[in-house]
């Protein structure tokens, strides 16, 4: 385990940057509250996962090299408020660039200092979330790549348990995919929708007011489905919950 760092770089991810800036601000707030200085590299873009998952290896590699450059100007750890994009950097960059004499080693080095947000808070900082306060009832959806790629089983749940206290609802099949899957949601729209319907049914059955996840990609999908259903249930990134931003 690394010594407690004084400064981190936040790789916000393209979806947080363009669709969910509130999650990015909340992540900064929580990290700063935990006593870490947060630097947000201004020229960050997308990790390249859409191209990678589509099978477009050369395009994905180009985006990976650009992201590696952006995050390697300083050696500070990289925190990513997304299990999926963190998994991309930690596991898929080294594989994708294994044959690249220059970027292969850089990818491995970056992978070694990249953390998903809750993983960093719990495993590196030993962060104590603020005590539970009154508020909406929360249900946790376990995003696939964080869960199965990075093994984030306990960290987000532990933080949420502390932050939500008795206000947490059990989400049935919390570890089943919501059907987002990037371009899968469009290329295989009907299957993706069927998976989403099952997830939305489970959410509504859970009695929760707010669905929480480590990834805004899943929340974008779930939120879009809830909005179409005119559901009262809202979505929040876990950073927003930890920052106390759970009300509308």
């Amino acid at each position: 385990m690394m010594p407690r760092p004084a400064r981190v770089q936040l790789f916000a991810t393209c979806l947080v940057d363009r669709f969910f800036p509130a999650a990015g601000h909340a992540a900064v707030e929580v990290l700063e509250r935990a006593g870490v200085e947060v630097h947000v590299p201004a020229d960050q873009t997308c990790c390249g996962q859409p191209a990678y998952n589509g099978g477009f290896a050369a395009d994905a590699a180009a985006m990976a090299r650009a992201t590696i450059d952006v995050l390697s100007r300083v050696a500070d750890p990289v925190v990513v408020p997304s299990g999926s994009c963190a998994d991309m950097i930690v596991h898929h960059y080294p594989a994708l660039l294994a044959g690249d004499a220059e970027y292969g080693p850089k990818a491995a080095e970056l992978a070694g200092r990249t953390y998903e947000f809750t993983q960093f808070l719990v495993d590196v900082l030993g962060f104590d979330p603020p005590a539970a306060q009154a508020g909406p009832t929360l249900a946790y959806h376990a995003s696939c790549h964080g869960l199965r790629g990075l093994g984030l089983r306990e960290q987000p749940r532990r933080l949420l348990r502390a932050a939500a206290g008795t206000r947490s609802a059990d989400l049935p099949d919390a570890e089943t995919c919501c059907g987002f899957g990037g371009l899968f949601a469009v290329k295989m729209g009907p299957i993706s929708s069927a998976m989403l319907d099952a997830k939305l049914d489970a959410i509504e059955r859970s009695g929760a007011d707010v669905v929480v996840a480590t990834d805004v990609s899943c929340l974008m999908h779930i939120g879009g489905g809830l909005h179409r259903r005119k559901s009262r249930v809202r979505t929040r990134h876990i950073a927003e919950v930890l920052a106390g931003h759970v009300h509308d």
Partner: protein, 481 residues
């Protein structure tokens, strides 16, 4: 999109519209997945068990030519006749030939996906051999002129009531004979017992073959496999050429995870290890009175049918597969669309890798797009095959061969070009946000154009933020400085 890809999408729509199918799938996959989880939870070290099984299979696949040779020699030494089938047509011809030369008119079969793969039943019927499926599920499939939709539970798509109606229609069953599942099973058993006693040939698949001993391992839950391989005078076993383990100890390692993964059982009800045909007394090493039962002839047909093409490619890991079906039960896509939608003999995550490997990418690469890459399949695989990685390898090859939809092929290089130029990227993001602002309502877009309409068909899409997080953050920092 190719015609076969379009057909896949039509089958998906049909499956999703079938409420009874989806209810049956949800129930059975849930039960099997739950059974699997409980069975592994009960092991002291489930991860080590999977590692051992993987190691056994990986060792065999890594030196497949050596172990195939060792197996063939050992099996021949115990009296088996070995046949090599390079293609499905070869397998059909070899097995039809064995039946023809011996004047066999009736063959009983235990469950075998490899025989499905080569279309054996049709070929034998064509050669004048009546074929009777004796696995209960496959028996129902055959009666209904249907196809299996799961590699372990072939009639997962059928309800009990369906089967009752089929038995009444095809077997003339009385209402009492289809009153409940035990009654239906008893009826099938009566029908099948007569066939077993008359059949001249028994045909089986092979779960695993042991190279060092030349043995065939066949696991079943119904006992039909044991009858198929011992009662008829001739036993023909169709063995996929990758289904080897080096030693009997390796067999034990794989059996420790196979039934647990498939059905949640610690072991299948019948685990048969068959080494050669029935031995008569006389030869050295034979029991003095000979063996009391077993076939006079045992033919092992070793099937390639495209498998060896996978060796040495990024897809080679799929050859470790022991066809337990756990990845089907775990897959949220399979759980919603079932096996028939995939269109091939092998459905689900494993099928999406196997089918393009066996039959080429052109007609089968679209299956690999039907995955959200959630990784549930990898988590349950008894030999720890990295299925999402293999699905990605199929997608990669499909992209290189320009088999993905035109809009995706056009979009990805453009997206990469923009994303590797931060200033262009920021400008494009702002432009998209302005464009979206005109069509959004309350922060949501309810209709997107072109292929993106597949999103808004069932979900709203969030409108992009007018200002990006990175820009806002920079401004906040500047203001507080």
């Amino acid at each position: 999109m190719t015609e076969s890809a379009l057909a896949f999408h039509r089958r998906i729509d049909t499956a999703l519209a079938d409420a009874r199918l989806r209810q049956a799938l949800a129930m059975t996959t849930g039960r099997l997945a739950g059974g699997r989880a409980a069975a592994f939870d009960a092991l002291p070290d489930p991860v080590a068990c999977r590692e051992e099984a993987r190691h056994a299979r990986a060792a065999a696949v890594a030196r497949l030519d050596f172990y195939l040779d060792q197996f063939a020699r050992a099996a021949a030494a115990r009296g088996c006749t070995i046949h090599w089938a390079e293609t499905a047509a070869d397998a059909r011809e070899i097995i039809s030939g064995i039946a023809r030369e011996r004047g066999i008119r009736l063959a009983v079969k235990s469950k075998s996906m490899a025989t499905e793969e080569v279309g054996l039943n049709e070929a034998l019927e064509h050669a004048g051999v009546r074929v009777v499926e004796t696995d209960l599920g496959e028996f129902v499939v055959q009666l209904g002129g249907d196809r299996p939709s799961h590699i372990i539970t072939p009639i997962i798509h059928r309800s009990r009531q369906d089967v009752a109606a089929l038995f009444q229609e095809q077997l003339g069953a009385t209402p009492a004979e289809v009153e409940d599942i035990p009654a239906m099973t008893a009826l099938a058993r009566r029908v099948l017992r007569a066939e077993f006693l008359q059949a001249g040939m028994g045909i089986s698949g092979v779960n695993l073959a042991v190279a060092e001993t030349g043995s065939l391992c066949i696991v079943t839950n119904e006992g039909n496999g044991r009858l198929t391989t011992t009662l008829p005078r001739v036993h023909v076993a169709l063995l996929g050429l990758e289904r080897l383990v080096p030693t009997a100890a390796d067999l034990a390692a794989v059996l420790a995870v196979l039934a647990r993964s498939a059905t949640g059982q610690a072991s299948s009800v019948y685990t048969n290890v068959i080494t050669g045909p029935r031995r008569r007394s006389g030869a050295s090493g034979d029991p003095p009175c000979g063996e009391p039962d077993g076939p006079d002839e045992l033919h092992v047909v070793i099937l390639d049918n495209g498998r060896s093409r996978t060796l040495g490619t990024p897809l080679a890991e799929i050859l470790y597969c022991v066809r337990c079906g756990a990845c089907l039960n775990a897959c949220p896509v399979y759980r919603h669309i079932g096996g028939h939608a995939y269109g091939g003999v092998y459905p689900g995550p494993v099928g999406s890798v196997v089918m393009p490997g066996l039959h080429g990418l052109e007609d089968w690469s679209e299956l690999a797009q039907a995955s959200s890459l959630c990784g549930a399949c990898r988590d349950v695989c008894p030999v720890k095959i990295d299925l999402p990685h293999l699905l990605l390898a199929v997608r990669r090859e499909a992209a290189e061969r320009r088999l993905s939809p035109l809009w995706v092929r056009a979009l990805m290089p453009l997206y990469a070009a923009v994303a590797t130029r931060p200033r262009v990227y920021r400008w494009a993001g702002r432009a998209a946000a302005r464009l979206a602002h005109a069509v959004q309502r309350g922060g949501w877009i309810s209709r997107l154009p072109g292929p993106l309409g597949a999103w808004t068909a069932s979900r709203d899409f969030p409108a992009p933020s007018a200002r990006s997080f990175v820009e806002e953050h920079r401004e906040r920092k500047a203001a507080s400085a």
